[in-house]
Amino acid sequence: MPPASPDSPVGRARGPVRAAARTAGSGALEALLVDLAPHLQRGTTLEARHRGADGDRLRLASGVPALDARLGGGFPTGRLCEIYGPPSSGRTALALSLLAGTLARGGLAAWIDPADAFDPTSAAEALGASAGSLERLLWVRARTEQEALRSSERLLRSEGFGLVVLDCVHLADPTRRASPRTGFRDADWLRLSRLAASARTTLLALSSTPRTGARAELVLELAPRGPRFLGPPDLLDALETTAVLRRHRSRPTDQAIPFSIASPIVPAIALPSDDAAHDAC
């Protein structure tokens, strides 16, 4: 690992912090510094370091390299982000991927679920090795959107959750497009975005249609390209989808990023033959 630049907060740190930076990597140290930021004075080198060239902060990687590169490293922390798209476009899978990243680094996350659509079994499969950290996920089964709104506000005020997913997908009839006038108002999104900024929490809204308006830092539209089956016998292998960045403060928008969402089951089925080959060796 090359030595940190003297101008960076890592380079200026002395003693155990600098030693920790050498041993644990700058990513963990940056996460620590962001967490400690409320206790430090404003205008220090710390903020200048994290502000960067385009005002970026610590990022939450989505697991799609092309998308993360386009977003400058991932979804920004402390911001309201939105993913929308039609059914089977991969909104839930992308949110689960962000959830896995948050839980894997030891953070807490919350899933506010007014549609009561969160499936713990498939979430555990999708999280893979991070499934054991589901104990750090708080599932809020709100019954109405107002309950979801108040739950979101309360969780953001507690200032300790790295990611809060607000599932606004209208699942009673997922094919029907929810009216933009129903549910949250613009003032609600404004309040939530401010709370997310003060709590340094990534607030991720999932919806069928764009709902956050101009309050979101990042709006991502997903367009399904259809599933991919393997067989025979037929197995659902993956969902092919395309992400289009519809809104971003500092990044170019309207560029399509195709990617696929793999099924966690298919590689598992292929495992016995791998095991047999391994044992044979």
Binding site: A31, A93, G107, S122, A123, R154, I269
Partner: protein, 583 residues
């Protein structure tokens, strides 16, 4: 032998914190707005009740303890009268004990006296070694007196070799007017008081009796401070014995022969010769605050106001003892005679009264009392506080108290059982899950390898087959092996994995089959041709239970409108349904 003390060679020192008008201050703790007003506490309702304690403002207008209520009103028409509350007085006495334990490991409450000292409350505190901690014993006494005043129980503190002598000196401070004299010069340094005896302290609220010189200083005190019984007091008065030194000068044997053996106990107390066991170390940490309401309360807001005062006083006492509250036990006494006993848990021991009050309010709002409340009791078991240890490389989570308050509010908002940690059950029934308590473990340890079947969906290939019991039908998700990096890593998957949006309850569907495979679907989720089908995946289990038996065939289908659904045929009900949507 006036100046002789049986403890002259010992190091035992006992402090006595004495509050002369305990019922008065117990009432003022609850109604602080009455400070500065003429106030009197009666021993009961009705015109024949007598005053137990009066405030200085009432005393200045001629009201004395022992007077009846009409006499008090005649002397001071604007006097505020309150009936003594046993619950309030008990809480105040326990607060005295907490004050003692805030400075020393050993303290005990003094027994309640009768007669003229019925209104006083006292606590004995082990003051051994206090001079080393506070510079001198007077420093210890000053801190104790200051804490008592801050807790709303202003009193006097005296330190002597025995409980009786300490209490006697405290009574002198509390009841005997002191002649004004210039304050003595303070001796510098942190020398022990036993080595540099000081005759008297200038402060009006503390007094230190040097070892061996107690009787010399207490001798001039009136003998009434020893609280003799009426017969003995009359006899002593008849003989012209008014001061303690007069009593101690008399030969002990003749005294007993003439006035009875009861006088020997009095003399032993005055000399400090009474046998006193060491002060015990209290082990019980149960704290309780009570309040009897003047008028029943049937609304939540006034009741919450009452609870705020109780919580505040309870937290003050916990703070004094360096403890935290892990669960609140509260009792509401209703007007119909019922007692509503409840317990409200706290995630982590706390002394934040706002957190406790919020939890109480949420509990009250979720289950209001069925009748008006006429008495409230709030208690808790004091437990050591846990200090939050921040991890150097883990994100900062919410404080335990804040997290607990958040969870309580979310539960009150969304309902019981709807907020918590998702848990997939080790069961192959469709949509088998539960919600557990959210107690996040912030350590970044690797998840334990699955010892039993993964809670995932069972996967079958080819034609449906009836399988054995679910315990033998494991998911075929890869199992981590020892030495496998994936087994010990908590890294998330490299790319997004397919997720399922559940439909609860599953949506009814109509399916058209062709050659045994679904080709057309009509449901509220999607309607149209089925473009591609994977499956069926047969899952069955719990055949031994009529109610829990399940047997389903699941299909992954792609609809013509692009939706990818999980379609299910229930063999028991012979119905098709849509379980979820891949997304």
């Amino acid at each position: 032998m006036l100046g002789e003390s049986p403890e002259a060679g010992g190091r035992r020192r006992i402090a006595c914190l004495l509050v002369p008008d305990l019922p008065l201050h117990a009432a003022l703790r609850v109604e602080p707005e009455l400070r500065g007003a003429p106030l009197a506490i009666a021993d009961g309702p009705g015109a024949r009740a007598r005053l137990l304690a009066v405030s200085p403002e009432a005393r200045a207008q001629g009201v004395e303890a022992g007077a009846t209520l009409p006499q008090a009103r005649a002397s001071c028409p604007g006097i505020e009268l309150r009936v003594a509350s046993p619950g309030l007085e008990r809480s105040a006495r326990e607060t005295l004990l907490d004050l003692g334990l805030s400075l020393a490991p050993r303290a005990e409450l003094a027994g309640r006296d009768a007669g003229p000292f019925v209104a006083e409350g006292a606590v004995y505190v082990d003051a051994d070694g206090s001079a080393a901690l506070h510079g001198r014993e007077s420093g210890f006494a000053s801190v104790l007196a200051a804490r008592a005043e801050r807790a709303g129980l202003p009193g006097v503190v005296a330190i002597a070799s025995t409980r009786a002598l300490a209490r006697l000196a405290a009574r002198q401070l509390a009841y005997v007017p002191r002649p004004s004299r210039p304050p003595p010069r303070e001796a510098g340094g942190a020398s022990r008081v036993e080595e540099a005896p000081q005759p008297e302290r200038a402060e009006a609220s503390i007094r230190i009796l040097p070892v061996g010189r107690e009787l010399e200083q207490l001798g001039p005190l009136p003998i009434d401070l020893l609280d003799p019984d009426d017969r003995t007091a009359q006899a002593l008065t008849r003989f012209g014995i008014h001061r303690i030194r007069d009593l101690l000068r008399l030969p002990r044997r003749d005294l007993a022969a003439r006035l009875g053996p009861e006088l020997l106990a009095l003399v032993a107390r005055a000399r400090g010769e009474a046998i006193e066991p060491p002060i015990a170390m209290p082990r019980a940490t149960q704290l309780e605050e009570e309040l009897d309401l003047e008028a029943p309360i049937d609304r939540l807001e006034p009741l919450a106001f009452v609870l705020r005062g109780l919580t505040s006083r309870l937290v003050e006492r916990l703070t004094l003892r360096g403890l935290g509250c892990e669960a609140l036990d509260w009792t509401l006494r209703l007007v119909d005679g019922r007692r509503l006993v409840r317990r409200t848990g706290v995630a982590a021991p706390t002394v934040d009264d706002r957190v406790l009050l919020r939890l109480l309010r949420l509990a009250l709002e979720s289950e209001p009392p069925p009748a008006a409340v006429e008495g409230v009791s709030l208690g808790c078991e004091g437990v050591p506080l846990r200090r939050e240890q921040l991890d150097l490389f883990l994100p900062r989570g919410p404080a335990p108290s804040e997290l607990d308050r958040t969870l309580a509010e979310l539960t009150a908002l969304c309902g019981e059982g709807r907020v918590g940690r998702p848990e997939a059950l080790d069961d192959h029934r469709p949509d088998a899950f539960t919600i557990g308590a959210f107690r996040p473990d912030r350590s970044r340890k690797a998840p334990p390898p699955p010892t039993s079947g993964s809670p995932g969906r069972s996967v079958g290939l080819g034609a449906p087959r009836s399988g054995p019991e679910p315990a033998r039908r494991r998911s075929r998700l890869p199992r981590p092996r020892p030495g496998d990096p994936a087994a010990s890593s908590t890294r998330p998957p490299a790319s997004p994995r397919l997720g399922l949006r559940a439909l609860r309850p599953p949506l009814r569907a109509r399916v058209r089959l062709h050659d045994g495979r679904p080709v057309f679907l009509r449901s509220a989720v999607s309607r149209g041709e089925i473009v591609a089908v994977a499956g069926p995946w047969r899952t069955t289990g719990h055949w031994w239970s009529e109610s829990a038996h399940f047997a389903v065939d699941q299909y992954d289908v792609q609809m013509s409108d692009g939706c990818v659904l999980r379609l299910c045929f229930d063999w028991r009900t012979k119905r098709w349904q849509v379980d979820g949507l891949y997304d």
